[in-house]
Symmetry: C2
Subunit: 402 residues, 2 copies
């Protein structure tokens, strides 16, 4: 029997308990042992809950119980999740988490501690919700040199952009609706400004490089400036607008990561990833592209990923599963040198100047009044910025992903 403690009985934590209960037959079989929820840590009481008598308010009870071998940290936030995780690992208890913020901030340290104490720090649920992506990178693509990852990693923004594309509505209007439906938080900044996707691509990029990719250094642009008019142009181009999180190891050994809205063509497999779904594209030097797709959030999908980590811990009691994510920070290339094509909207009156300044461009014809829109050749962020400044007026600009 493997005794499990769940820290935090909120959405994901209660999902973990539900998944372990509902699928106990499969899970116990695949664990090779019976999983037993011994404690649930929460500040609140849950009178009437079937697990009421498992609820404890003092983390010491869990830490001091040598029978507890696996801990599900589903609290979120850095403190006290960090301190609790660290203490557990120091005592040889494995930790499974859905906490992307903690993993992005302290991943290498916690992974090292797990190794030193012959247990595991696993975080499948921290990226892409229920989509298996951490384990495919760590266990499956082991014969590959992975050199690129491109993902739709945030369900809230993908829901908003999908709605804007389908209904021609504006950002504020759709955001409000998403908030009413519970798809967006009251304070939506972490999602719509791209911070959530940024932490997730930092985690994936760290696993890709084997070193530490600091999320603070990743260029991050949200979707708040995307308008209904942008989608009119996107349709005319047979493209959609998606918030992409990407990272690349270039041939010269340099590395960059960025989060920003991109226009992607209908032929791109990420094009049809709609609503709250997430998808991650991984490029390897032997396999080429592979993609992983599914529900990027939600109680049960996220809990399912946490429990799959628990099963992995149960299968590896006393043994640390390999995971390469060193303390050493990756040097990130200056974003100014990264090249893309740009979709640009300017005033109709500036048509001649646009052609003079940007040279070879492709005009985008769509039913938007008083505007002139075009697509540039591939150029660096810096070159684009200089030319845009010269032009004087850019209503909006969106990068293109071919």
């Amino acid at each position: 029997m493997i005794n499990v403690a769940v820290l935090g009985y909120g959405t994901v934590g209660s999902g973990v308990v539900e998944v372990i209960e509902k699928n106990k037959e499969e899970i116990n079989k695949k664990s090779g042992e019976k999983l037993n929820i011994k404690y649930i840590l929460d500040l609140r009481d849950f009178p009437g809950d079937p697990y009421e008598n498992k609820v404890v308010h003092d983390v010491e009870i869990i830490m001091n119980d040598p029978e507890v071998q696996v801990i599900c940290e589903t609290m979120g936030g850095i403190h006290p999740a960090y301190e609790f995780s660290k203490r557990a690992l120091l005592m040889g208890k494995s930790v499974c988490t859905s906490n992307k913020e903690l993993v992005a901030n302290h991943g290498p340290e916690l992974i090292r501690l797990a190794k030193e104490h012959k247990c595991n720090y696993l975080f499948e649920a921290s990226v892409g919700g229920g989509i298996p992506i951490i384990r495919p990178i760590n266990y499956s693509l082991t014969a590959e040199k992975i050199d690129g990852i491109t993902g739709i990693l945030n369900g809230t923004t993908n829901y908003i952009l999908s709605k804007m594309a389908a209904e021609g509505a504006g950002f504020e209007e759709v955001l409000k609706e998403a908030q009413e439906k519970g798809y967006a938080e009251r304070n939506p900044e972490a999602d719509v400004e791209g911070h959530d996707a940024c932490r997730k691509i930092a985690i994936l990029s760290s696993l890709m490089t084997g070193k530490n990719v600091k999320y603070e250094d990743i260029y991050t642009e949200g979707i708040t400036k995307i308008t209904a008019a942008d989608f009119v142009y996107a349709r005319a181009l047979e493209r959609s607008i998606k918030l992409l999180a990407m990272s690349r190891e270039c041939e010269d050994g340099s590395f960059y990561a960025m989060v920003a809205p991109f226009m992607i063509p209908v032929s791109h497999p990420l094009y049809s990833v709609s609503g709250v779904f997430n998808a991650v594209f991984v490029h390897g030097n032997m396999l080429g592209d592979s993609m992983y797709y599914g529900r990027g959030a939600g109680k049960l999908p996220t809990a399912s990923a946490v429990v799959s980590d628990v099963v992995d811990c149960a299968r590896h009691i006393g043994k640390t599963i390999m995971c390469f994510w060193d303390d050493e920070d990756v040097k990130q290339a200056n974003v100014e040198h990264i090249k893309h094509r740009f979709f640009v909207r300017t005033k109709a009156a500036l048509e001649k100047e646009a052609v003079d300044i940007f040279g070879l461009i492709r005009v985008v014809v769509a039913d938007v009044k008083d505007e002139y829109a075009f697509i540039t050749e591939e150029m660096s962020e810096r070159e684009f910025k200089e030319k845009a400044q010269k032009l004087g007026c850019v209503i909006n600009r969106i990068r293109l992903e071919s």
Copy 2:
């Protein structure tokens, strides 16, 4: 150091050697040991090949060398691959294979032998080429009750159908072109009749159920009867025609699997899986749908999957990785009871009869002369067959997947 022997220096076998050589830095790091190709078994000699001096013609040399811990069986076919694999496992040597025929025929026995001799029989490359799918099912979706798998599992037929869709060409014409380009075999039967996809869905279904799904019992229909006219209708319906391999565990506990061409809508994530790409959709009771997409064949993608198995073996020397695939055969439901909607083409003259016999139907309007085409309500295969017989003339019929 882990000594590896490769059985069969053909396309996949030489790919294995190439992948291990090219990505040795990553692979050795992820294995935790240096991989060394000690022998290559082939009937031929390879003068001038950099691995020329590793080639042996006698399998005894490999079997009797206690230093060989992992064997890559990339010979294909049942004999002597079966005998060689069995002997290796009996001696505690792990076997990694791309041989779907052997896995579909003797999987449970070879997995059991591996377990009994504390080694591994791994077969990631046998389904979906380079796409990680066996390991996601066995290692990642461990908290799920998987109740459905739907895949595009054969690159040749997907290439042919994609070409027919894009160019309006007929089956024979595109097959000939695919043969010239090397995308289809001179004897294309195994692909175009669905046998290859059938073996692959048998393997996936066995892992889904934990029991043995006999491929001989799976209803299998190929793509040879699909015509250019079918695609005219498909376009009118905003659908495409794909060869799907599917299996389902129904709520009443019954199980069925089938391989057949299906019309799928543009909104279906498998719709945009084109050319030689493969994709597998997995449905779990907690996660819902997840999808795995990538190159389903080809030298390096397939070899990459074989080598990822070798890495897994290296990480688990002396220990068998859990895999649930028992000897016991799954009882497959009679295909006659399976329900689908059907797209049906008949003579224009039979319009009235069609409506009389099939009742509520949706007429499909497309530019095909002298025909009347419609979509039925959901009905069982048997009911459809009876009604079609009553109608007297069915030019073609294709199942719909919603």
